[in-house]
């Protein structure tokens, strides 16, 4: 049994007090003394040549302090891609410069080409409207297949719209082709993984402050990883020395990936602050969020599954076009490649896997990692084509999966897509799922629906994902330009309470609650006496931030390592206090005792001794009790799961209603089940949103049609069912100290195929020969599919 508030307890989230009572401190809440406002002037065309920008009318308008255009940034660097991908022919990917402000050309609607700094936002807007830009509209290229014809170029200087043409694993290509040629059955599915707008509740915002006396800058910004932002601005964009730049990400209202990246607005407010000598603040409006936050997904894919007639898998072969938009966002090249291609063996022992990904520039907003990042795309392709194959072969979709599952005695398992899965038990997950969804009762429920004139369908699938990214050595070989470790400093204060400085950033994940649970358990002290400090590069060790479900598995592990160092040192101090040898000291429940005696000293007394080192062996032990650890994991963690969804479809209107949804996940050891359940709920909301509701849609001219909530459907509470979530079937991760696997993205990864499989099952039961519908499965799309079948 966990002790109250320790590992495994459903401790309520302490951060919710401020989130739910309006006492959070978000970037937009911060008003620096003397601050000026920045407003960006953005392109209304998707592709255009900037002939001239005339700021003369705007310059003298009331309140205007400065106006910037792309011209002001030609001498500084661009915002780089964080991951180098080489094409199949060995050529490195194309990396056109991504400037702070567009120069020469605008490349998507929303691309900023000027910025106005003024006393107030309204004055800056007035002046922005007075800027006369002579932008010659050029034909836009939006469709990826069209873009690959290279008739219209997004970046003239690279002479192609293809960023790279990547094969994984290239050496397996011929064998996979051969296996498919000779297979008794091949199922082919063409599908679109729909483009999504992240829609964090808090729009992006930044405040840049230049301190002339110190010649130093501070950036307060909506970021998931302040150190990475600092590194990019320092080393690539503005060249401000790292020691002269502090990046602070205060409370952040959701990111889902979109706030991993550095954006030009952040560089602009810093440069502007130096120029006008005052803090400069920018807060995006919702339209700017729609137009300029890095979007997610956007793959067009053909997947083939070759199998025996009994459903034994022989090969998966995938050809994907991945949209990177108009510029490379920081992880846009890793997402469709290593976060997608390496997962294309799924939970299965399939021997042949080959993936080809062409990344394509288009005149649309940049696309990058969004909750799940690459793994949802992989899972969707695999789990949809398996369902289609099962139907073609007349086999039960669950039995087909079970036949091919990696079995518990096969770990560590080297997948045909190049990863080494450390642990799992997919049959156990599926057993639990079939039980809690009441698969046996489905036929009755279907009859009841049919009696009401409704169609009912059931979809079931597995998923596996790789997260907690990851070993620096491995990602380095694969092209990452950054390390992917994390760091924590555990500071025991003199009076025995703790401040823990962590590299991970918490923006809704619950770190401030869970991390103290773990250290409290390790030290035998009350978690309430431990606080987490995050988000400020001047306070925390260099960490890589929060994304890819890595906070607990990577940063949490660093924190455990640092706490172990604390215990080791504290034992030495305790040994001195107890006049014994450190080897003879045991530590449990907050007490240091000498083996076989009743002599003991408490953790708090040891802490005090460390800071008031009277009668202290100063020549052997340093005073103080503070330790830092950097943790670089040995592997990804591999959460897996089995999901089921039951839907009712109204055959007259095509409207889909989710009746029940069950998620059984293997997250290894669970530190706080309530928070994990919340993470799954959130992920499912986004996965179901992708499946039924959300879709970013550009017209042929590159105008974003779904640029507001009038046309972009966010899931609302009544679109979503009550979920049954289970994590009783965990198999601990074998290579991190807590045995944990990432849980933040799973819901969004596993659920889209579940919903689509269920809808297809419903339509098939109604005698409609519909084998696929592209997401989102809106009523009109479902209706059209039914009526064309």
């Amino acid at each position: 049994m966990p002790k109250d508030g320790g590992i495994g307890a459903d401790t309520k989230r302490r951060e919710d007090v401020r989130y739910l009572t309006g006492s959070g401190n978000y970037t937009a809440d911060i008003n620096a003394f003397g601050q000026a406002a920045a407003v960006f002037v953005r392109s209304t065309v998707a592709n255009g040549k900037i002939n001239a920008i005339d700021t003369s009318a705007a310059d003298g308008m009331p309140g205007v302090l400065a106006i910037f255009t792309g011209e002001d940034f030609v001498d500084v660097g661009g915002n780089p891609a964080g991951w180098l991908i080489n094409s199949r022919d060995g050529e490195p990917m194309k990396e056109p410069k991504r400037p702070v402000l567009a120069h020469g050309k605008v490349r998507h609607v929303g691309d900023a080409y000027a910025a106005v700094i003024a006393e107030t936002v309204e004055q800056a807007r007035d002046a922005a409207e007075a800027i006369e830009a002579d932008i010659e509209e050029l034909p836009a290229v939006v469709d990826m297949a069209e873009a690959l014809k290279n008739q219209t170029l997004v970046h003239d200087e690279i002479e192609t719209n293809q960023c790279f043409d990547w094969g994984w694993i290239e050496d397996n290509r011929a064998a996979t082709d051969e296996a498919i040629r000779n297979a008794p059955h091949v199922t082919t599915l063409e599908l679109v993984n729909n483009r999504l707008v992240p829609n964090a509740m808090e729009p992006r915002a930044s405040i840049g402050t230049y301190d002339r006396a110190q010649d130093a800058y501070t950036l307060q910004t909506t970021s998931q990883n302040p150190h990475l932002t600092r590194l990019l601005i320092s080393a690539f964009v503005l060249g401000i020395p790292e020691n002269k730049l502090t990046v602070i990400a205060p409370d952040v209202g959701g990111g889902f990936g979109s706030k991993i990246y550095h954006y030009g607005e952040e560089a602009l407010v810093l440069a502007a602050s130096k120029k006008v000598g005052r803090p400069v603040k920018w807060v995006a409006d919702r339209t700017e969020s729609f137009l300029t936050d890095a979007h997610g997904r956007d793959h067009v894919t053909k997947i083939e599954l070759a199998c025996e007639k009994d459903g034994t898998f022989i090969a998966f072969r995938t050809e994907t076009m991945a949209n990177v938009g108009a510029y490379l966002s920081n992880f846009s090249t890793a997402t469709p490649t290593f976060l997608h291609g390496t997962l294309m063996a799924g939970n299965y022992t399939v021997p042949n896997v080959y993936v080809n990904v062409k990344a394509v520039f288009t005149n649309t907003a940049p696309v990058d990692a969004y909750r799940g990042a690459g793994r949802p795309e992989a899972t969707y392709s695999i789990e949809r084509v398996i369902d289609k194959a099962a139907r073609e072969l007349g086999l039960d979709p669950v039995e087909v999966r079970r036949k091919n599952f990696v079995k518990p005695d096969q770990y560590p398992f080297a997948s045909a897509a190049g990863l080494e899965y450390d642990s799992g038990n997919y049959d156990a997950l599926m057993d639990k799922l079939e039980e809690i969804i009441d698969r046996d009762g489905f036929a009755e429920r279907r009859k009841a629906s049919e009696a009401k004139g409704m169609l009912r369908g059931l979809g079931l699938n597995s998923y596996i994902e790789a997260c907690g990214i990851a070993p620096s050595n491995l990602v380095g070989i694969l092209g990452s330009r950054v390390g992917l470790y994390d760091a924590a400093t555990v500071r025991v204060n003199a009076t025995g309470n703790l401040s823990i400085m962590v590299g991970a950033h918490s923006h809704g994940q619950g770190h401030e609650t869970v991390f103290p649970q773990i250290v409290g358990e390790m030290l035998g002290i009350d978690p309430a006496s431990i606080d987490i400090v995050h988000g400020d590069t001047s306070k925390i060790p260099f960490g890589m931030g929060t994304y890819g479900s890595r906070s607990l598995a990577v940063c949490g592990s660093a924190m455990v390592r640092a706490t172990e160092k604390i215990i080791a040192k504290a034992k030495k101090i305790a040994a001195h206090m107890l006049e014994a040898s450190a080897d003879d000291v045991d530590f449990a429940d907050g007490q240091f005792t000498i083996k076989g005696t009743d002599k003991s000293v408490g953790f708090g007394e040891v802490a005090l001794k460390a800071y008031i080192p009277h009668e202290y062996p100063i020549e052997d032990i340093e005073p103080g009790l503070e330790e830092t650890a950097f943790y670089d994991p040995a592997n990804f963690t591999y959460p897996s799961g089995a999901y089921a969804c039951e839907v009712e479809v109204d055959p007259e209107t095509g409207k889909v209603r989710i009746d029940r949804f069950a998620a059984v996940d293997d997250f290894g050891n669970v530190m706080n089940p309530m928070i994990v359940t919340g993470q799954v709920h959130g992920g499912l909301g986004q996965g179901i949103g992708q499946a039924l509701l959300e879709g970013a849609s550009y017209d042929a001219d590159g105008q974003l049609l779904s640029a507001s909530y009038m046309d972009y459907t966010m899931p609302r509470a009544d679109d979503l069912p009550f979920y049954t979530v289970d994590h009783s079937q965990g198999t601990p991760c074998t290579h991190n100290p807590l045995g944990v696997k990432g849980c933040g993205e799973a819901g969004a990864i596993g659920s889209p195929p579940t919903v689509v499989n269920a809808v297809i099952d419903a339509l098939q039961s109604g005698g409609k020969n519909v084998t696929h519908i592209d997401m989102p499965l809106t009523p009109s799309r479902v209706w059209s599919a039914m009526n064309n079948a």
């Binding site: 409207k655 779904s706 009038m710 459907t713």
Partner: protein, 263 residues
């Protein structure tokens, strides 16, 4: 927003004279107008707020048996206070937007705006309502003149709307998933002298009557009566949320459902 003045008249007469200022614009609940101003898509010099005018608020019954609703009455008030007199109308009001919208948005604002996907226009046309302004009365059949276009003159204010009460009625709304306005909404009202069917959301012409269905239903008020009819996709709206064919199909489905649900 651009800067503007605000007037808060207490009477229709004062409001009408305030509306004579150049570039003046009426402000109802602000649920459409305020977002428009925030995006700098409109530039009025004066906003004349109507929500403080007592004589423009509330629901009552006229001697002629009509439900009379003040032009500045909120959707929430109609949902509550018209329920006993005209449940079909109250039901419609109760499904507009969300609680915040219903507690602010007004019937006058909705009818003046005449959004092609708005709900009230279907009720007004489907009931053969009379739109009363500060200067005249306009029959619903003459009032709606296509998307965002009405018979209102510059500066004219909707002060009241009078709805004849039908024997049975129902508004069937199939929501556009994102905005939850009507992708297709059908208001059916059965009167002693015949049935009226008004369709919103579907047509490029805005709200309109479906006369074939009215004729069929006037003889036989049941969903079966329209089973042989078909709706042409010509002139139906095409957007992200539905093709003309889909909308045409939904008009018939929603009409059938409205008839079945009418009470």
């Amino acid at each position: 927003m651009y800067a503007f003045e605000i007037e808060r008249p207490a009477s229709i007469a004062d409001a009408a004279s305030a509306m004579k200022t150049d570039e003046a614009q009426a402000l109802g609940g602000g649920q459409t107008l305020i977002p428009t101003l925030k995006q700098r898509l409109a530039m009025p010099s004066v906003l004349v707020s109507l929500t403080g005018i007592g004589e423009m608020k509330g629901v009552c019954m006229s001697d002629a048996g009509e439900v009379c609703i003040g032009g500045a009455t909120t959707h929430a008030t109609v949902a509550r206070e018209a329920a006993a007199h005209y449940p079909g109308l109250a039901g419609l009001a109760s499904r507009i937007g969300d609680p915040a919208v219903r507690n602010r948005g007004t019937i006058g604002g909705s009818l003046a705006n005449n959004d092609p996907a708005a709900c009230y226009p279907a009720a007004a046309l489907g009931s053969g309502a009379t739109i009363i302004t500060n200067s005249r009365s306009i029959a619903a059949d003459d009032y709606f003149q296509g998307m965002f276009t009405t018979a209102l003159e510059e500066g004219e204010i909707i002060t009241e709307v009078r709805f004849p009460v039908p024997e049975k009625s129902h508004y069937q709304k199939f929501v556009q998933p994102a905005s939850r306005f009507a992708l297709v909404g059908v208001f059916v009202a059965k009167y002693a002298d015949g049935v009226r069917v008004a369709v919103t959301g579907a047509s490029e012409e805005g709200v309109h009557r479906w006369t074939e269905a009215e004729n069929a239903l006037s003889g036989n008020f049941s969903a079966d009566a329209i089973s042989e009819l078909s709706v042409s996709a010509d002139g139906m709206i095409s957007d992200l949320h539905g093709s003309p064919e889909y909308r045409a199909h939904l008009v018939k489905v929603m009409t059938g459902r409205a008839v079945s649900a009418a009470s």
